[in-house]
């Protein structure tokens, strides 16, 4: 199968980037999208040209390393999956495919399709933890947790930190990402003690790093490969409000 690719190439953070066209004949429906790019890269390398740089590691949808804009969608047109799980089955022979990096002030391009998502780590460093030192934990069953709460906490905790929510948002807001962590802890007793400090520190850091405001368009939830719910944002707003008045 043949695809007509238009891919963003940019040497480094300081260079100006541009789209480059690649007419690629040699894809097959069993390939993943990234394997198709691997195959294209092999050809480029064999000609001595610079391959297209992109991040990926686990290639099974869990590490959050991969991520690119494909035909206008973060992680491509199929809902609920990461780029590495996107299969060429979903494309037609002869189709035009436009590939770009995440676009957001908080995620500067490093090279081609690779962006710097360090700001996500910085937000987590600001408060995304429970302060329990190794060695001081009681027996697990000393802290029973209502199953429903625990399950909801899990649902918030499955964020892979890929950045698709920010890339999808017209305001480049990181609210879904931040709220997923805040919600994970807000719903279990272990997380209650530092709830106020946590939500304040994480939101402050998020603002400081240049992420935009949330205007409730819901694009983040729609594009999240793990389908994390915007309910988390409502929960975080409530946590933040409670923190402010308490």
């Amino acid at each position: 199968m043949r695809v007509k690719l238009k891919i963003w190439r940019q040497k480094d953070a300081n260079s100006k980037g541009a789209f480059v066209n690649y007419d690629f004949d040699g894809a097959s429906p069993e390939m993943s999208f990234l394997e198709m790019l691997d195959a294209l890269n092999t050809r480029l390398i064999e000609k001595g040209e610079d391959p297209i740089a992109f991040d990926s590691d686990c290639r099974e949808g869990i590490c959050g390393a991969c991520g690119m804009y494909i035909n206008g969608y973060p992680h491509g047109p199929v809902k609920g999956i990461t780029t590495c799980h996107l299969s060429m089955r979903y494309f037609k022979d002869g189709q035009n495919i436009v590939v770009e990096p995440w676009r957001s002030k908080a995620f500067p391009v490093i090279r081609d399709l690779i962006v710097d998502r360090n700001s996500f780590d910085k937000i987590q460093v600001a408060g995304g933890f429970i302060s329990t030192n190794v060695g001081s934990a009681p027996d697990s069953h000393a802290i029973p947790v209502i199953k429903e709460k625990s399950d909801h906490s899990f649902d918030s905790a499955i964020c892979i930190g890929c950045g698709a929510c920010v890339a999808a948002c017209k305001n480049a807001s990181a609210m879904l990402f931040v709220s997923a962590k805040v919600s994970q802890y807000a719903q279990i007793p272990q997380g209650k003690i530092e709830a106020k400090e946590r939500v304040e520190a994480m939101i402050q850091k998020m603002d400081e790093l240049g992420f935009g405001n949330c205007t409730n368009t819901g694009a983040c939830e729609a594009q999240c490969p793990k389908e994390i719910s915007v309910i988390n944002i409502a929960r975080m707003n409530r946590e933040f409000y409670v923190a402010k008045i308490s």
Binding site: D12, F120, V134, V145, Q184
Partner: protein, 639 residues
């Protein structure tokens, strides 16, 4: 010849660790501040070590090659994490967990270490719970357990099919807390390219900044490697595409012995290869074997659709060969049995390299809903990748390289043969002998980092409190840096015609065919010659575009592939040396009449620790004899 000293404390097995802790030296808080520790790796092992050392007050530098520490491949573990909590009241105990691991490892692991891993397993679960890891719970609000990997008790804690992710993000959060406090400095997108040894002690590392290409020097009073496994030696494996043995290999070349390199676990249930450009194999959790039945057609080359093949024409080969354990036999046994059927011509799919994992009967018996609640996300993942639904037809699976029991040799203190250099998690030769049981790696990696290393490293650092911060201007740093530069320049200036990946793919095929699930002398010797030839071609025909001082993924890959050749050679050496079969290591020359693995305890009850001889470019074998004082050594049978 250095004598291997495993430093196992004397006394009864159950008291060794307590005794060790009671007598080990401590470092006072004021001195801890003056001591630097480098931790390479941010998986469960590295992140738990770095955060614990930070909590204790050491100055920690933590490195990983990914853009964020949260992406280490521990994140991909699915099934669960073991602990001897006995919350199910089903008779479990530290001893039972210990015993299962010793037996599962086919009596090739060190008793004292395994017992300790089982001892600290409960602390690991308690800690994870306290820091908010959302393990599955029951309606009483307590933690749920499942049975995993064919053991007789339910001791596996889990978080749906995302246990690794949840545990890793837990350790990531503790790590972040220490970064916040200024105790840990994080260096992402940095690859360790050499170890620096000064006066016989590990004192630092040389790294490459993967964004700028800059070569950096980092010094410390001790260095901890937590760099994961090398299952990627087969190119296709369940590991991350960038997982690699280079850090461990560089340490090996600087004096750390490499133990049991040929012990690699091949996992029986991965999605088979679908195309020639495939970059990795996706694991389908072992838990599926609780309800799925594995079969191939009874007739050779039967190409009918699986659903149309009647029961009496199906060969449920695991149930047939192993009536007691059936589909739940350990991984090595299940993998070999699948290979045997496929090699004999009974495999399914176009390639003939797959067997069916069928849920038809389970769905009939328990209903689709019940199956969905157990395996929903795995079934979805399977469908996303293959385009077919396991609700409607059997999954197709095939074994894949998965976990390396081999790794850097460490003593009871987790120290390698280089003083001050530690290896934890999958990167050491570990507690799993010749075969690892399911859900015991997450347990071991976290135990190493949270509860063992922080004690043992103090015992070493207590002697270092008078050593001032190590200068990176010392000649040893300069030399190591020069060596690294030379190698990079060499790789980039070959300017041949083939990508690093194309060599890796070829190497993987050789290793899979001759040093994979089944090995024999002739094949191993042949593989050695092939690897040597491939390595020569690599140095003649490699193409690395771009420059040194920029983000250059091809250069990163080339450096790793260069080391793979040497790791492959050592694996072959080790597999040739061990003429017995044990655990995952199956030597065709050593099998019973029924085709089961045959151990040779008289000659091989030892850990093979290999020393690198830089002048002669050959390896010297050191044997650590294994003594079983507590358990009776038996034939491992699952019939």
């Amino acid at each position: 010849m250095t004598k291997l000293n495993s430093k196992i404390p004397s006394g009864p097995l159950a008291e060794k660790w307590t005794k060790y802790k009671d007598t080990a030296n401590l470092v006072n808080p004021a001195n801890k501040k003056k001591l630097d520790v480098i931790v390479v790796g941010t998986g469960l092992a590295g992140a738990s070590a770095a955060s614990s050392l930070g909590e204790l007050g050491y100055q920690v530098k933590n490195f990983c090659y990914q853009d964020s520490s949260r992406r280490a491949h521990s994140v991909a573990a699915q099934g669960g994490i073991n602990a001897a909590k006995n919350y199910r009241n089903d008779g479990d105990s530290i001893y039972h967990l210990f015993y299962d691991m010793i037996k599962g490892g086919d009596y090739r692991a060190r008793e004292a270490n395994v017992y300790r891993a089982a001892q600290v397993s409960n602390d690991v679960i308690d800690h994870f719970t306290a820091i908010g890891v959302p393990f599955a719970r029951d309606y009483g609000g307590n933690l749920d357990n499942r049975s995993f990997g064919g053991v007789q008790v339910s001791r596996t804690f889990y978080a749906k099919g995302l246990t690794g992710q949840q545990c890793l993000l837990g350790t990531y959060s503790s790590l972040n807390r220490q970064i916040n406090k200024g105790m840990v400095t994080m260096y992402p997108r940095q690859e360790m390219l050499d170890l620096v040894v000064i006066d016989g002690k590990a004192r630092g590392i040389i790294t490459r900044n993967l964004i700028t290409g800059e070569i950096e020097r980092h010094s410390a009073h001790a260095v901890v490697l937590a760099t994961g496994g090398y299952g990627t030696i087969y190119y296709l494996s369940t590991l991350a595409v960038n997982s690699n043995p280079s850090a461990a290999w560089k340490a090996h070349k600087k004096g750390a012995y490499f133990a049991n390199p040929s012990f690699v676990q091949i996992h029986p249930t991965s999605i088979p290869q679908l195309n020639d450009f495939q970059a990795k194999l996706t694991l389908m959790s072992e838990s599926l074997r609780n309800d799925g039945r594995i079969w191939v057609p009874k007739a050779k080359g039967d190409k009918r659709h699986a659903n149309t093949i009647p029961n009496e024409e199906r060969d449920y080969f695991l149930e047939r060969r192993y009536p007691a354990f059936g589909n739940l036999v350990p991984r090595d046994v299940a993998s070999r049995a699948a290979k045997e059927r496929c090699d004999a011509g009974y495999g399914v799919s176009d390639t003939g390299l797959a067997v069916n994992l069928d849920f038809r009967d389970a769905i009939q018996k328990q209903g689709k809903k019940a199956i969905e609640s157990k395996y929903g996300n795995l079934f979805e993942m399977y469908e996303t990748i293959t385009g077919t639904s396991p609700y409607d037809e059997p999954m197709r699976i095939y074994p894949a390289g998965h976990y390396t029991m081999g790794g850097l040799w460490v003593d009871y203190e987790l120290m390698t043969t280089v003083p001050g250099l530690y290896a934890i998690g999958e990167s050491n030769f570990s507690d799993h002998g010749a075969n690892r049981l399911g859900a015991s790696s997450l347990m071991q990696t976290s135990g190493d980092g949270y509860f063992i290393l922080p004690y043992t490293i103090a015992n070493y650092l207590s002697d270092e409190i008078r050593t001032p911060r190590i200068s990176t201007d010392l000649k040893e740093f300069e030399e190591a840096e020069k060596e690294v530069m030379n190698q990079l320049e060499k790789l980039i200036s070959i300017k041949g015609t083939k990508s690093a990946t194309s060599f890796h793919r070829k190497l993987g095929k050789i290793m899979w065919d001759y040093c994979g699930m089944s090995r024999n002398e002739e094949g191993l010797n042949k593989a050695r010659v092939m690897v040597k030839k491939l390595k020569e071609d690599f140095y003649k025909d490699l193409m690395v575009p771009g420059g040194l001082n920029e983000l250059n993924q091809e250069l990163e890959k080339a450096g790793r592939v260069a080391d793979y050749f040497d790791v492959a050679d050592l694996m072959i050496t080790d597999a040739l040396n061990r003429t017995e079969s044990c655990g995952a290591h199956f030597r065709e020359e050593s099998q019973t009449e029924e085709g089961e693995a045959k151990r040779n305890d008289a000659d091989f009850m030892y850990v093979a620790a290999w020393e690198y001889n830089s002048s002669k470019q050959i390896h010297q074998l050191h044997k650590e004899d294994l003594k079983y004082e507590e358990v009776e050594v038996k034939v491992r049978s699952y019939k």
